[in-house]
């Protein structure tokens, strides 16, 4: 019976090692200290994406559990001309969130989803609620470039 149990444990270990092996290095690491968001995006092989294809995407936290932080509501240009992704942030089951504007260079594409790599949820909670005053919507057919990351699991 003891040998049977040992065998089971070993089997589970083998499975655990295998599952872990797909992520030898983690994906979606935050920018190194001192690096600007634009510089960190340049390291992530930014790829063209249609703005209209971003709206509605889930925004994930780059951790193994891939917690959903919110959804992309719209993409705007702020007073300084920076492209910002307006994320319906927080809430529960899609209700009770509030919109915050996250610089697109703080985010990456992860297949059909996006991730916020440059800010922790604690930092995002301090973001002011988005106000459209002074911003302009980026038209849906505009192509912008967004960095990539591998899955964080």
């Amino acid at each position: 019976m003891a040998s049977l149990r040992l065998m089971l444990v070993c089997g589970m270990l083998a499975v655990a090692t295998a599952a872990h092996a797909q992520s030898k290095t983690p994906g979606g690491m935050p920018p190194p200290p001192g690096m600007s968001l634009a510089e960190s995006t340049a390291m992530r092989f930014p790829q063209p994406v249609r703005v209209g294809d971003l709206v509605g995407r889930a925004v994930l936290r780059p951790v193994e559990s891939q917690d959903v932080l919110g959804r992309v509501r719209r993409v705007v240009r702020d007073q300084n001309g920076r492209i910002m992704v307006v994320v319906e942030f927080g809430g529960f089951l899609g209700f009770g969130g509030r919109p915050i504007a996250v610089p697109v260079d703080a985010m990456v594409l992860l297949g059909q989803d996006m991730e916020i790599v440059a800010f922790t949820p604690e930092q995002l909670r301090q973001f002011p609620t988005f106000s459209p005053t002074g911003t302009t919507d980026v038209p849906a057919d505009t192509i912008i470039k967004v960095g990539l990351a591998k899955p964080s699991h």
């Binding site: 040992l6 295998a18 797909q22 290095t25 092989f45």
Partner: protein
């Protein structure tokens, strides 16, 4: 309704009570456990289950057995589902055994595809050589062993056409790949000859981008994602099991879908 197969004189229900411990021990997980230890382990290897390496060897033997069964079930004429071009995810999803910041782009002009093993013509190929061959486009689902998937549109040279062109021995067992990112991979000949297996040069009608394998990657609809090496630099036709990056870490080799 009474079953027509019900015996005229049913057995005494007390029999069940007599064998209660036995029935309980046959619950599903216990059954699988028992099956694995007694049947698979003992019969496949005759090993001593107190030694972890023996257990690992036995589990790998089971994995190889599964590979064999999958190869037997593989139907070269059965096509994987395809999708309309409007469903192509642009850009595709990136994945590798390292994060995107470690991608080393390959210079397309200096790139050569080496061909070796059981082939008549071992001349190296340039990118324009490959572009000059007849191309095929497919919109297929990329399915990762991690559990995610996306629909992608790929254009390139059918691997079958390439293997015929270089005079490969199509009865050989394996087609093996080497890549610029040191990610060796290999597939069985039947999958290599499948019409939905491409040496892909384009994604969504555009030249492959650097993180997705420029200048050339394998893209097959009949295997899991990790069987699709990017930045391919060499193809070998062989009868000696070539293995692969994840396979050497315990992942199944056949990995069919």
């Amino acid at each position: 309704m009474k079953s027509p197969f019900r015996p005229a004189s049913p057995p005494d229900t007390a029999i069940l009570d007599d064998h209660k411990p036995l029935v309980r021990s046959l619950e599903r997980r216990g059954f699988v456990r028992g099956g694995l230890s007694l049947g698979a382990l003992a019969m496949l290897t005759g090993c001593d289950v107190t030694r972890p390496e023996a257990v690992e060897a036995a589990l790998l033997a089971i994995s190889r057995f599964n590979d064999g069964v999958q190869a037997l079930l593989f139907d070269s004429n059965k096509l994987a589902p395809t999708y309309p071009a409007s469903m192509i995810l642009r850009p595709p999803k990136f994945n590798a055994y390292y994060d995107v910041t470690n991608v080393q782009p390959v210079d397309g002009a200096g790139w050569r595809l080496e061909v070796s093993g059981l082939v008549a013509n071992k001349r190296a190929w340039t990118l324009s050589d490959l572009q000059a061959l007849p191309q095929r486009s497919i919109v297929i689902k990329h399915i990762c062993v991690e559990g995610w998937s996306y629909i992608g549109g790929w254009t390139g040279v059918p691997l079958r056409a390439f293997l015929e062109r270089v005079g490969a021995d199509l009865r050989a067992k394996y087609v093996a790949f080497k890549t610029a990112d040191d990610y060796p991979s290999s597939i069985d000949m039947a999958s290599a000859l499948h019409p939905q297996t491409l040496l892909a040069l384009q994604y969504g009608g555009e030249t492959l981008a650097d993180p997705f394998g420029f200048p050339m990657r394998l893209r097959t609809a009949v295997k899991l994602g990790y069987k699709n090496p990017k930045w391919v630099t060499a193809i070998e036709v062989t009868n000696d099991y070539p293995g692969g990056y994840w396979e050497s870490l315990g992942f199944p080799w056949f990995a069919g879908i």
